[in-house]
């Protein structure tokens, strides 16, 4: 048996439920995990993730989540943002931790079981294919789905909060020989957000954990119908030893607007792929991100915007703050399809490298098959400004605090654009704690 087949057998022992799981299984059978040498996986340590998966165990099914998690814990880890909430504990929906009852008109949220009866009988089954081996594994092995469905012409004024909590970790493998992910539990969260034509909606998706090694292989799909306005904030703040391979697929119809922010606050290996297809004319996508690897952490952002229709606008603004032996990377891929006109694509990736052993990688990748295009990109890798640091210190501000002020200032452009205020405050507090730590 090949190692890929063994992996599938281990992580998805039962034949998947439904056609999507079957397609995932078939794709994985054919392709397995991505080749570590593949361009899109260049900065992700696939081999290390594979090794962790080979020692991992699927999260126990049917665990009673209320025994390990309660509402104050969820609030503390993911924040409380005042709207409906879907909470998944180790991959399974937790009705008692979720708030699905009092949803405003035009909004439906729920898990896989609640979603099933909503499918119209005789509706054609979706035919989409997984993007890669991890995505396929998510389909094959995932057991639940978080669904956020917004009708047409609906304007929601509070965000929907989707929380994925990992609780289980290794017991007794913390010795010096323990490898990353040894006996970690692995979950495959899947989230679908569909926003109807002309509607406005905001979704916050938080990935959090209570400690111990965990592997999260997540997939989120955001579909914005014609003229829809969607705000999507993805906060990946799992514990320091966690591994997360995540993919967000965003599909935009004509004149839709999506603002998506990804913040990686922690995690030993985190891959954040964002794949956007602007499929209808006049769509706009504003993507931003912030990542702060420290210790020996690897945070990899792989962003692709496919301008498949005319008059599309896209911006990518990802900021890296790399400390200690951390390594942060950003690959920004822009595709402008043949036959389209009026594309405007901008990309920036400023990096702040705090130690000589930290590393920031940045890679713009523009594939332009049309003439009428405006495409800009810029990347910088710099240290904290010595002059600014001296100026602050000369006014009596202690070094650690002065450094934290400068790091927060660097991150402010991303953090300040986040709504609602409760999430912005949650991130600011985290950033402050984190920067004072790294500076002292």
């Amino acid at each position: 048996m090949s190692s890929d087949a063994a992996l599938l057998e281990r992580l998805a022992p039962t034949a998947g439920v439904g056609a999507r799981a079957e397609r995932g299984r078939a794709f994985f059978d054919a392709h397995g995990l991505p080749d570590p040498k593949a361009e899109a996986w260049r900065y992700t340590p696939v081999t290390e993730i594979r090794a962790a998966l080979e020692h991992a165990v699927p999260a126990p099914s049917g665990s009673t989540s209320s025994t390990v998690a309660d509402r104050p814990l969820i609030d503390a880890l993911a924040g409380s943002h005042g709207g409906p909430r879907l909470v998944f504990v180790d991959g399974l929906f937790s009705a008692e931790l979720s708030d699905v009852e009092a949803t405003p008109g035009g909004l439906w949220i729920g898990d896989a079981e609640a979603l099933r009866p909503r499918r119209a009988p005789g509706a054609p089954a979706p035919q989409d294919e997984p993007a890669d081996g991890f995505h396929a594994l998510n389909w094959a092995a995932g057991s639940d789905v978080a669904a956020v469905l917004v009708d047409a012409d609906t304007h929601l004024d509070v965000p929907v909060h989707v929380v994925h909590l990992s609780t289980a970790g290794s017991t007794g493998s913390d010795g010096p020989d323990a490898t990353a992910g040894a006996d970690a539990t692995v979950t495959h969260p899947r989230t679908v957000v569909r926003v109807g034509a002309g509607s406005t909606a905001a979704v916050i998706e938080s990935f959090v954990g209570t400690g111990g090694p965990s592997i999260t292989n997540s997939s989120t799909r955001v579909v914005a119908a014609e003229g829809a306005t969607v705000t999507y904030h993805r906060v990946m703040s799992e514990p320091a030893e966690a591994i997360h391979v995540g993919r967000t697929g965003i599909e935009q119809a004509a004149h839709s607007r999506v603002a998506a922010t990804s913040v990686i606050t922690d995690g030993r290996i985190v891959r954040n792929a964002v794949d956007v297809v602007l499929g209808g004319d006049g769509a706009r996508s504003d993507l931003s991100g912030l990542y702060l690897p420290t210790d020996h952490q690897r945070h990899d952002n792989v962003v692709t915007v496919d301008h498949a229709a005319s008059h599309g606008t896209s911006t990518q603004r990802f900021k890296g703050i790399v400390d200690d032996h951390g390594r942060g990377s950003f690959s920004g891929h822009v595709i402008v399809r043949h036959g389209t006109i009026g594309t405007d694509a901008a990309q920036s990736n400023p990096n702040l490298v705090l130690t000589p052993t930290a590393q920031a990688d940045t890679r713009p990748w523009l594939e332009i098959f049309a003439d009428d295009v405006r495409c800009t990109h810029g990347a910088t890798v710099g240290r904290l400004d010595d002059d600014a640091l001296f100026y602050l210190r000369s006014r009596g501000i202690p070094t650690a605090q002065a450094r934290a002020m400068l790091i927060a200032a660097f991150a402010a452009e991303v953090v300040d654009s986040v709504t609602p205020e409760s999430l912005r405050d949650h991130l600011s507090t985290w950033l402050h704690t984190r920067t004072v730590e790294v500076s002292s």
Partner: protein, 248 residues
Amino acid sequence: MLSISELTAVVDGKRILDGLDLEIAAGEVHAIMGPNGAGKSTLSNVLAGRDGYEVTGRVTLDGVDLLGLEPEQRAAAGLFLAFQYPTEIPGVGNMYFLRTALNAVRRERGEPEISAVEFLTLAKENMARLEMDPAFLSRSVNEGFSGGERKRNEILQMSLLQPRLAILDEIDSGLDIDALRIVANGVESLRSPDRAMLIITHYPRLLEYVRPDHVHVLTDGRITRSGDHTLALELEEHGYAPLTGSAR
């Protein structure tokens, strides 16, 4: 109050300060003048604790050895440097910066921290005296400030922090005559029997507004001549050339 003896500073093997001695008593205002390259800015940087200099000699402020202290500890000990080129810090709000600095210094002095509301009142009073628009509080530190606005922001910091020793490095450079008068009045208003000031300047014009008790000429890294304020007038008339010639 400030005592400097045998101060030398070397950068990249080049001796910029070469055995400088200076004594400043509380309540006194001293001016150091000198041609370009004489070591004026090096002196202010070395006193404030900027990295990059090999320093020997002895500097004490109120008996405290300054050279062994970090820049923030020197500020806590009462030293303040008004920068020749105040640094822009995008993303750090001026008000947040000023209050953080004031509270850091107050903490070191064992005084209670000041609340945001109290601070705002205090800052606005001081800004009014410097004819500064309160809107400067909500901007990033020095970002997009004109030369004159930056210099006023320096004097604002000095008036908030109330240092024992203020070093004003070319505070008059880049100012038009009106801005010079406002900045000079701000400096003059901070003159006090408890405070010493060291004004480093290229041109004597500032000294018409803030009359120093003592004027020193810095050439080739040491003080080569000292006198009262009339020395500044003499320099205006004859320039530094006769002095640099005789200093060798």
